[in-house]
Amino acid sequence: MLIYLIRRLIFVLPIALAVGVVCFSLVHIAPGDPLVSILPPDAPQTLVEQMRKSYGFDQPMPVQFGIWLGKVVTGDLGTSIATSRPVAGEIGKAVGNTLLLAMVATLIGFFFGCLFGFVAGYFRDSVIDRIAVTVSILGVSVPHYWLGMVLVICFSVLLPWLPATGAGPGSSADWRWDWEHMRHLILPAITMSVIPMGIITRTVRALVGDILSQEFVDALRAKGLTDGGIFRHVVKNAAPTALAVMGLQLGYLLGGSILIETVFSWPGTGFLLNSAIFQRDLPLLQGTILVLAMFFVAVNLVVDVVQTALDPRIKRG
């Protein structure tokens, strides 16, 4: 198992490098001069050149990449053009908030997804099954920024129960596990959980249906197991795939929460990314994309390892 882990970690390196190249070049391919946003339109040409030099934008692209990569490896993601603060610090704060939101949303989605999926899979073609399938299709299809706004209208505007924006009272961005902060988490987390819930419901339903139709379930009945005993076997057979899907969803939510974080003004990476794009803040943009991409890689790695640990049929070689 240890050797397997080390091998998997080594495999991550080329992926990480490729991610770095894509991040770096994507931002440079994008149109727009980053300096435009911080300099007044009538700035003298000499000042523009000076600024260009100080940010290193005058160097050839590969050299820029080398310098950037060297700094990234040591944890220096550069300085934000818009705020002049270190990018790493900005992202660090945002990452905590995003992780919190995405994890809570994934857990909610996973819990209800498994619940609906198991019930639907067990009672295939029943009324409960149809309801679960309908809910899951709705969950996957409804645009979540729209759902977010509807929830805000219902529970913040019409019924003033929950706050619509922010991650805490006032403009506090430091999370604490108290009711004042948790109230802010409820609406965005529910909005965000709808997609993984739909996908996990469908996955688990198909899995359970497939497992129950296999002969070993008959064999388990034949040896006298009750429904409870058979349920344990179904769970262990379904777990590797269900967890893999959950992990991938967590990865997507970490990166794809821009819309939801913007709707709820949640101070996470998506929100940060949004403002970085609008302010043409290249270092911040690169840093955020890189961190999100690395998260995705890391989540995939964890999923693979967990799956290998759970399913004896996957070779550890």
Binding site: K236, P312, R313
Partner: protein
């Protein structure tokens, strides 16, 4: 006369759904303790359905079961869920055709056997594991202690089937059902498994119902043979009687179409036609459309069982009953 261990009377099974299939159309089986019955028949003749009905493993929503099944004095069809679960694996257990599919792929073999023992005997894990180890030794799995921690996919087909037998016998059932347990195996492994099964069955004094489409296999493991066709038993008797003097035209056809005992250079005889569809319950002899001896009377009514020898019966109006 004491009642038999297994007493199945006029068992009828109908599957409904997109297509209706009358899988069993009146099956009678009586089995004494320690006796081994081989059920012989082609695909779709109802062999496996009979076994599954005995454990009530047929999908309840699509299946209509009529008749009666009594095992060890208990009415199987009347059991509630709890009694049924106690009965399965303890009184009657089953070996499946394809052990690779019948074992849970994500649990170790030791766990799966111990689980069954704990379920029926309520003992602790260590005792159950010891029992699993004993069973592995009895089915002669090499280095049994290590194999207990193996997963099904880590074993060869023959070893998997040995493990499946160990699982089925772990709670010392009174009746063992074997559903073509050697069909998925190599010929050399097949005979080992057959001999092992026969030996264990005698040692443990179990009754056994062994389903197969292979005449040679049926002869190897059975005291008595029942031949099934179209959801009915068409002939049954002692192994020697059925093989040496087959009475039903279908049994004769089966014997004529095997390689055993055929002269080199002569053509094997095949039974013309195809098995019946069973979409409707047969009102006459199901074999009549393929039978050379068929007369209009064959289609008129289901032929009764006729005694053709001591404890040897056939369901055919063309055979002469033995002199009383």
């Amino acid at each position: 006369m004491n009642s038999p261990l297994v007493d199945i009377r006029d068992l009828r099974v109908k599957f409904s759904g997109q297509r209706t299939v009358h899988a069993l159309n009146g099956v009678d089986i009586a089995l004494s303790p320690g006796e081994s019955l081989g059920i012989l028949g082609e695909s779709g003749s109802g062999k496996s359905v009979t076994l599954k009905a005995m454990l009530r493993l047929l999908p309840p929503r699509r299946t209509t079961v009529a008749g009666s099944i009594a095992v060890d004095g208990q009415d199987v069809l009347a059991m509630n869920a709890d009694t049924l679960a106690d009965y399965r694996g303890k009184t009657v257990s089953m070996i499946f055709q394809e052990p690779a599919l019948a074992l849970d792929p994500v649990y170790t073999l030791g766990h799966q056997i111990a689980e069954s023992v704990i379920r029926h005997e309520g003992c602790d894990r260590a005792t159950a594991r010891q029992r699993a180890l004993d069973m592995f030794e009895r089915v002669r799995i090499p280095s049994p202690a290590r194999r207990l921690d193996a997963y099904p996919h880590e074993m060869s087909g023959g070893m998997r089937q040995r493990a499946m037998i160990a699982l089925a016998l772990a709670c010392r059932p009174k009746v063992l059902l074997a559903d073509e347990p050697t069909t998925a195996l190599d010929a050399t492994v097949q005979i080992q498994i057959l001999l092992l099964l026969r030996e264990l069955q005698r040692e443990m004094g179990m009754a056994m119902i062994f389903v197969t489409h292979d005449m040679g296999v049926a002869v190897e493991v059975s005291d008595r043979i029942a031949v099934m066709y179209g959801g009915r038993i068409v002939e049954s008797g002692g192994v020697a009687d059925v093989i040496k003097s087959p009475s039903h035209p279908y049994t004769r056809g089966l014997l004529a179409s095997t390689v055993h005992g055929a002269m080199r250079g002569t053509r094997l005889e095949a039974i013309a036609g195809a098995p019946p569809s069973l979409a409707t319950a047969p009102t006459g002899c199901s074999f009549a459309p393929r039978c050379r001896l068929a007369t209009p009377a064959c289609e008129g009514a289901v032929p009764p069982m006729v005694g053709v020898g001591p404890a040897h019966v056939a369901r055919c109006i063309a055979v002469a009953p033995a002199a009383a």
